[in-house]
């Protein structure tokens, strides 16, 4: 397993050997197959992966909603139950609606009253941009507004650890931006944040670190730039009428080449090397674009093959 074996932070979050299987009609499903993650206090970590990667199961075990088959969870040196009882945890679960017959403000006041040291309800309404609809009944909110209220409920306890399971699913583009702004403002107070997403951009833009999961395992763990570097796929597009794709693919730094009409598309393992080689060999190339691949390609390259073991770019010894 390629997850970095960083020394377990005394004061952070530690998942060790976490394993969970479910019985389903198709037989035993190994949802999470022994994962190890250490998160430092104050870190913002994205748990990224396709559906069925085991993200939600991992989060449910992290929160103590689901007992692991094997392995352990330590949250600031507490068990999940202890951390919950001490009010250290705030979470937005994957699915969930709000209870009815209360206004947004009333619901927040009700839930704040459960915690030992909550934030002020007015402060939370302001931070989450909910003042304008504070008096509205919960059943009259739009999907995006509901998600914002759920976020407000997750932070009203002033938790040390904020856990968000696919928080922006019901939101439009603008709401997403506002949501992540609120999240980053909260994280900036030294809070630890773990969020699951299958929106690759969100992980890239909002996390200090990305833990990439596929088929119940961690397939990559590092800063977003490192994840991209490990696959290293940027693409070069250029207009180049008469070049043989085979020849293009053989250029230094190029992984594969494809012709699309007048244009060629080069998928690169090292785009710096590839662009030099391309211009040297084919000076006629024009309209050149180099696309920063983003996490999307890392994601596809690392999780594409369901039969292979966790891909590891370092050759096995």
């Amino acid at each position: 397993m390629a997850s970095p074996a960083t020394a377990a932070p005394e004061d952070g979050i530690r998942l060790e050997g976490l394993t969970k299987s479910f019985r389903s009609q198709q037989g035993l499903v190994h949802a999470v197959r022994g994962i190890d993650v250490s998160i430092h206090r104050g870190e913002t970590v994205a748990l990224l992966g396709p559906n069925g990667a085991g993200k939600s199961t991992t989060i449910d075990m992290l929160l103590g909603l689901l007992p692991p088959d094997a392995g352990s969870v330590s949250l600031f040196n507490h068990t999940p139950r202890q951390a919950v009882d001490a009010g250290l945890l705030g979470a937005m679960l994957q699915s969930g609606e709000l209870i009815q017959y209360l206004s947004v403000r009333e619901l927040l006041t009700m839930m704040a009253a459960i915690y030992p040291t909550p934030l002020g309800v007015d402060a939370v309404l302001e931070q989450t941009g909910l003042q304008a609809i504070a008096g509205r009944r919960t059943q009259k909110l739009s999907g995006g507004e509901t998600q914002r209220v759920r976020f407000a409920l997750a932070i009203v306890s002033n938790p040390d650890l904020l856990v968000l399971d696919e928080p922006t699913v019901a939101m439009d583009v603008e709401s997403r931006h506002e949501f992540w702004d609120s999240m980053r403002a909260f994280a900036a107070r030294g809070k630890t944040v773990v969020f699951a997403t299958h929106y690759l951009e969100e992980a890239d833009q909002n996390a200090d670190r990305v833990v990439l999961m596929a088929r119940g395992q961690i397939v990559a763990d590092g800063p977003p730039t490192e994840i991209k570097g490990r696959v290293g796929s940027r693409t070069i597009r250029a207009t180049l009428a008469d070049a043989d794709p085979g020849e293009l693919a053989a250029l230094a730094g190029v992984a594969s080449a494809e012709r699309r009409g007048e244009a060629v598309v080069l998928v690169c393992s090292d785009s710096d090397q590839a662009i030099r080689a391309l211009l040297e060999r084919f000076p006629a190339a024009r309209d050149i674009e180099i696309a920063g691949a983003g996490l999307e390609d890392a994601f596809l390259a690392l999780t594409a093959d369901p039969d292979a073991d966790a891909p590891d770019p370092d050759p096995a010894p």
């Binding site: 969930g96 209870i99 209360l102 009333e106 006041t109 009700m110």
Partner: protein, 245 residues
């Protein structure tokens, strides 16, 4: 520690559900005036030893309060469907505090029904010494205990779609078999069946003051047995429900 703010908003949520009010308050009041108003001078209703207005006051209080108690289940089923029960599990709210809030709110809603039907009864000439009022209300509150547990149990077993018919139908049937609509007499099949049910003893609370006719040992034992059974069932349903993913 009882969390008063939390309970206050739980109560507010219950009070704002108008449909519920119609069944637990409106319906019993309408039935009461329709049945008891024309018969307010019947002093010994069907040889029960008590007046018709008193008999129906307690009978319809039994129906309304049963609905109020089991309607906890409707709220719980809705909360489960919304994923709220899971959300509560990641708060410091203890299971005990959760149940306490549910039961307290159910009792407060039942209290409303008791007060309003009491006033309705008084308006039709029901008049009892203060001690008997207290004894009667006390017996009703005790007899509602199994229904508090029944509501929680059904809420954690059934879905939003099935709980309405289950609680509405169940409460109506129990009210019928318990003697809400007519005295069950002192022999026969209905009587034998009725006195096995907690709803029968709710209705019997009306007999307080008629020496030896309110709650014999059998009443206390029946209510205690149902309470133990249904509290156990509620705990089982809750644990089974919260273990699920």
């Amino acid at each position: 520690m009882t969390n008063l703010v939390y309970i206050r908003y739980e109560l507010l949520r219950a009070l704002r559900n108008r449909r519920f009010f119609f069944v637990s308050l409106g319906l019993p009041l309408i039935f009461y005036f329709v049945i008891a108003s024309p018969n307010r001078h019947v002093h010994n209703y069907d040889n029960s030893g008590i007046s018709l207005p008193l008999y129906y006051m307690v009978g319809l209080t039994a129906f309304g309060t049963m609905v109020a108690m089991v309607s906890t289940g409707t709220r719980i089923a809705a909360e489960r469907q919304a994923g709220w029960t899971r959300q509560l599990r990641i708060t410091p709210l203890s299971t005990r505090a959760y149940f306490r809030a549910k039961v307290l709110v159910a009792y407060m809603m039942s209290g409303l029904t008791i007060v309003l039907l009491g006033l309705a009864g008084s308006s039709l000439g029901v008049s009892l010494p203060a001690g008997q009022w207290l004894a009667m209300v006390g017996l009703i509150l005790v007899a509602l205990l199994p229904f508090a547990a029944l509501g929680i149990m059904l809420g954690h077993l059934l879905t939003v779609d099935s709980i309405g018919p289950a609680t509405g139908g169940g409460a109506s049937l129990l009210a019928f078999l318990g003697g809400t609509w007519f005295p069950l007499g002192s022999h026969g099949f209905l009587f034998q069946l009725g006195r096995l049910l907690p709803s029968y003893w709710l209705v019997q609370a009306a007999h307080t003051g008629l020496t030896g006719h309110d709650w014999p040992a059998r009443g206390w034992i029946t209510i205690a047995a149902w309470s133990v059974l249904l509290v156990g069932g509620a705990l089982y349903a809750f644990r089974r429900d919260t273990k699920k993913v």
